[in-house]
Every structure is written in C-alpha cells, then in structure tokens.
Amino acid sequence: MDFAWSEQDRVFRARVRAFLARELPRDWPQIARHGPGSPEQTAFSLEFCPRLAAAGMLTPHWPEAWGGEAGSPWRHTIIGEEMWAAGEPRGAQYMNVNWIGPTLMHFGSDEQKRRYIPPMAQGKAIWCQGFSEPEAGSDLASLRTTAVADGDDYVINGSKIWTSYAALAEHCFLLARVSGDGAGKAGIAIFLVPMTTPGIEVRPIPSLIGHGDIHEVFLTDVRVPAGQRLGDEGEGWDIISHALANERVGLPRYELSIRALGAMVAALRRSGRFDDAVVQMRAGEAASACEAARLLVYRALDAKWRGKPQGADASLARVAVVAADHAVSEFGIDFLPEGLSGLSHPDILAHHERAIVSGIAAGAAEIQLNLVARRHLDLPRGE
C-alpha cells in the first residue's frame, strides 16, 4: 500500500503544468469563462489539443497503435486533474480521450476505427453524446428516438436534450431504439452520426452552467448508413455500459474544487477573515471532503487497472466527488459571496458554475447511491 506518487509520475505532472503555463494564452481566463462547451473554448481546443498531442500529453495511456504510448494509466489521471483544474482547455475533446476513443477501439469496425480514431489522437475531433431525451434522463433505457432499417440505411427520428457541445460537434455518439417500445435495453443501438446530416437541428438552451453548453437536438428523418452503426443492433446497451464504466468516477472535479478552495482561502486571508476559527473549520471540512473524494477515486481507478471486479467503488467515488464539489461551493457562498459576483478570483466563479451540475451530469448521483446500496451494501431490491 502506497499513497505517494512515483518519481516518474511527479516528473510527468510537472511537465503537464509547465506545458499549461507555456501554452495557455494570457486571456485564457476570459476564454474559459463560459465553460468547456462555449464556442470560444471549443475553437481554442482545436488549436490547443494538436499541440498537446505533439507533446505526448493527449493520449499517452492509449495503445501505441492508436497514437498513444501505452503509458501508466495514472498519467491519464494526472492529465485529467491538471486540465480540469486549469478550466479544461481540451474542451469537448476530453470525452474522446476518456471514453469515445477507447470505446471505438473496443467495439468499432476496422473502417470506423480508421476513420474516427486518428483525428481524436491528433486533437482535431469534436463529438457530442446523444443520450438524454425529454422522457429519458436517469432512466436512459426508456429512450424513444427510433432508428428504422430502410435498405442499407437507418432512418432516425426523435429528439435529444441537455446535449453538451452539440452546436459545434462534427459527430454524435447517438443512442436510438431499433426495436419496439417493449424491448427495453435490448432494443437500443448506437450510431456514429455526422452532425451535418440533413434532418438534424440543434437549438441552444440558456443555462446556469455557461453559455453554449447544453442543447436540444431534433432528428427528423435522419438517414444514416448501416455502416455507421457501432456494434450489432442488440449490443448498444452493453457497449454504453462498458463506455460509462470508464466514466462512472466522473471528472476529476475534486482537483478544481481544492484549488478553488485555496483561492477562496487566499482571498479571505488577504482581508483578514481567515483568522476566524469558524471559517478555518469550514475550510478544513471542505478540504477533507475533497481529499476523501480524491482517495475514493484513486482507489476505484487502482482496482480497475488491476483488473479487479469493479463492484461499486466508482459509484462510491462519484457520490463523494459530488459532495466535495458542493462543500467547496457552499463555503464560498457563506464566506466569500463576492466570488459569485465576479469580484474575486475567476476560478471561484468557474468552480461554482461547474459544481452545480456535478450531481446531475453523466447521470444523477442518486443512481449511484442505488448502486452503492445494492452492490456494495448488499441491500435487497424493492419487492
């Protein structure tokens, strides 16, 4: 048992930080102000990610055959922490690196791999995920968008909602129902859909979490060749379960949280307010939530990379990450309200806008509590 980073990992983290210090422009805080889904940040990611790829910091954990170095998976964690804490200059491309690329490597046809993976490894691809629908949020398996076979094509009709990055994405990783309503999970298939396909309309939804971040996507008689289906018709749910297993621990939000907390404390110290024991205690409490979440995430990753059964480790971690995000956000609201007025460090405002979504994005935290109850605590299902 060893909770310290190896010397190689420490050196790698220093390299990532030096890269960010060198490559992020002076006006990066303004570019990042509206979050990873904004047009400004998406445009920046298309300049930034190729440089990141050239420096060997975009996909070092990927296999060498797909542009990676087959490096330590902890490097992927280090990159994720440093990028998210810096405001995620990879924009939407973090999804390619984390799960879309690896899912295509595992389940894609040769043609799909050749077509889609190289642009991701080069840092030039923007994807969105077409999962949630107006009637299918946490209950994703109840989705209603249909894909009906028609000769060598499928014709897709339906709508998606709360879709990040949809306005600027070139492709959508889309879930649709190929069998009737009664088929449930077994009737779902995945399609890799160019967003320029006729019949796709995207409308932005104003939101609390930054402009241009979430959208509605309407699909009307969208014709997609059968070769754009990922896996077989009945495999969609298994593929998405595999893909989301990579994502269940969620983003390394604890890293931004602890840094935002540090920025809050620095502001409070400058004004003499950190000498108050109550403020210190609440700061310590928020820090303890962040560090506990960090360790639960690391434990889940450690188990996964050792090939141990996943159990509910990732679900425990995700719940802890959400609690940590909110502990920091609430500390700021209670003791540094000027942070929400943009009168303090920009990280504080950015953190608040990202914290409010942490228990909702990528599936409600309550679903993870269900999984902890059943898989970790061995509690019975309702009868």
Binding site: M1, L369, G382
Partner: protein
C-alpha cells in the same frame, strides 16, 4: 499509488483475524446491563502476541497498526489498543500498559480504570505517570468505554520525545478507532435492515433507507482512506484532517444507525450502542471536528 495490501501487511491482518474474532470478543449482555464490554482476553492476546508493537516494525509500520485498530474497533467489545499500538512504540521508555491518554479534552478519561500508566499530551511536551488502582476513581458514563478520573495529580515525568509527532500518532489512533467504530455499527445495521421485514418487505429495500446508508458508507470509506494515507505520511495536517473528517461524519452516521435499528437499538440487549456510544466519546477528542478541521486548515494554508 497502490491501494492493495503488500504481502507483509496482508499476512499480518490475516493473522490478526483469529484474535479479533476469538471467543470472548462477541457481544454479551452483562448481568448488570453494563454499557461496555472490556475484553481482558482481547487486550491480553494483542499484547502477548506482539500485535501492539507492529508500528515499530519497518516492514509493517504505522499503516499496519492503523489497519489493525480500524479492524478491532469494528468488534462490539473494547480493549486499549489505540494508544498502545500507535503511540507507545515511539515513546522513549517502555511504559506499562494499558495506557490512558490525557490530552486536555476535559472530563473523564477512557480506560483509566484499567490503565497502569497515563500519558499527558501537551502542544509543547509529553509526560507520563504510573498508575495504581488507588489513584483512579471509576466514573459511570453513557459512553461505551470504561472511564475514570484521577483522584489527584500524579507524579508526572517528562518524556524526551517530539510532542507534535506524539499528537499526530494519537490523532491517527483516534481516527482509526472512530472510523472502525462507525463501520462496525454500520455492519450491524445493514444486517438488521436486510432481514427485518416491515410493510411486507425488508427495511433495507426502501430507497429512503438505502440512500442514507449508502451515504453513510461513502462517508466512512472516505474517512478510512484519509486515515490510511495519514498513517503513511505521518503528516500532522493529514492526521488532523483525517480525525476531523471522522468526527464530522460521526453525528449524521450515528443518527441514521439508530433510526434504522429502531427501538431494538434503544435496548441494551442489542450491541448498537457499543459502537454509537464509543463514537460519541471519540467525537470530542483532540479538539473535536471543529478543532481538528481548523488545525488542518491552518497547517495547509496558514493563519492565526
């Protein structure tokens, strides 16, 4: 970064298990309905088999000692293993044990009726004094520990050791014992809600019960790993953070444990109080959650 036990640690914890679960370590109701079980058997077995010296062994260290305390605290009986396993091996003299620790927390002191020595932790210095039965007055309390107070100030002798290091190790012992105590209580309640049927179904099948116990589990596991990490680093700030975390989650966890055990948990016929009233005793130690979390914040960021 490696969360798996190494071979030595795994062998050590495997060997501990028969002692932790030996006859005499299960819950028994006393004829006088006492609120704690002091296990002479457990205390003796741990000492005689060298388990309390493990922190000083290079291949095992404080990490194994903390893992041991966490495991033992899950049992319904109690013995004095925290201070003896984490603090005593680093004190310059081989003090007699069981140990009682006086750290300016006020009130009655745990294990004083059994203790043969008391250690006083101050921010600047560490002292100890031998004890005999005449020096101690047992105190009846709600806490599920034997408690007592000194009849008079003993003959304190200075110990030549680092006071900050001693406080750090004591915080680790308290944190490991509190995290293990909460885990023991949670396991007892989980067993109950899996089997207790109301409204025609197990209590544990209700989502209102599941989510709160799942939340408790997230809190306990996160706190446990904070303690383990601090046991490796021996960093004073990490130890304060870990103890503060254990103490701050203790109140809501204990509330839920009693809620879901219902009236059974209010009786002395059920052991739940053994864990929840040990947790109540540990909540205020070394400044409690407020003091430890504030200390962790000051050590991390500075401040008066």
């Amino acid at each position: 970064m490696n969360f798996a036990l190494d071979e030595d640690q795994a062998l050590f914890l495997d060997a501990l298990e028969p002692i932790a679960t030996a006859p005499g370590t299960d819950f028994v109701t006393g004829t006088d309905w006492g609120r704690f079980d002091w296990s002479e058997t457990l205390d003796r077995d741990l000492e005689q088999n060298g388990y309390l010296d493990v922190a000083a062994e290079p291949s095992l260290g404080c990490l194994a000692a903390v893992a041991m305390v966490y495991r033992l605290a899950q049992r319904p009986v109690t013995a004095e293993y925290g201070a003896s396993a984490l603090l005593r091996p680093f004190l310059p003299d081989a003090l007699p044990r069981p140990l009682a620790i006086c750290a300016g927390d006020g009130g009655a002191i745990r294990f004083l009726p059994q203790a043969r020595a008391i250690v006083r932790l101050n921010p600047e210095a560490v002292h100890w004094a031998p004890l005999d039965a005449a020096a101690v007055e047992p105190v009846e309390s709600l806490f599920a520990y034997p408690m007592g107070r000194l009849r008079a100030d003993p003959a304190w002798q200075a110990l030549d050791c680092d006071a900050t290091g001693a406080a750090t190790r004591w915080r680790l012992a308290l944190a490991a014992e509190l995290a293990g105590t909460l885990r023991g209580g949670l396991d007892a309640v989980l067993d109950h809600v899996r089997n207790r049927r109301q409204f025609g179904r197990p209590l544990g099948s209700f989502q209102g019960v599941q989510h709160r116990l799942a939340t408790a589990s997230v809190g306990i596991e996160g706190a446990h790993w904070l303690v383990m990490k601090a046991a490796q680093s021996l960093d004073p700030g990490e130890a304060a953070l870990a103890l503060g975390r254990c103490q701050s989650i203790s109140a809501p966890v204990c509330y839920d444990l009693h809620q879901f055990m219902g009236a059974m948990g209010l009786t002395l016929e059920h052991p739940l109080h053994r864990w929840t009233y040990r947790a109540r005793a540990l909540r205020s130690a070394m400044g409690g959650a407020a003091g430890n979390l504030a200390l962790a914040a000051r050590l991390r960021w500075g401040g008066a």
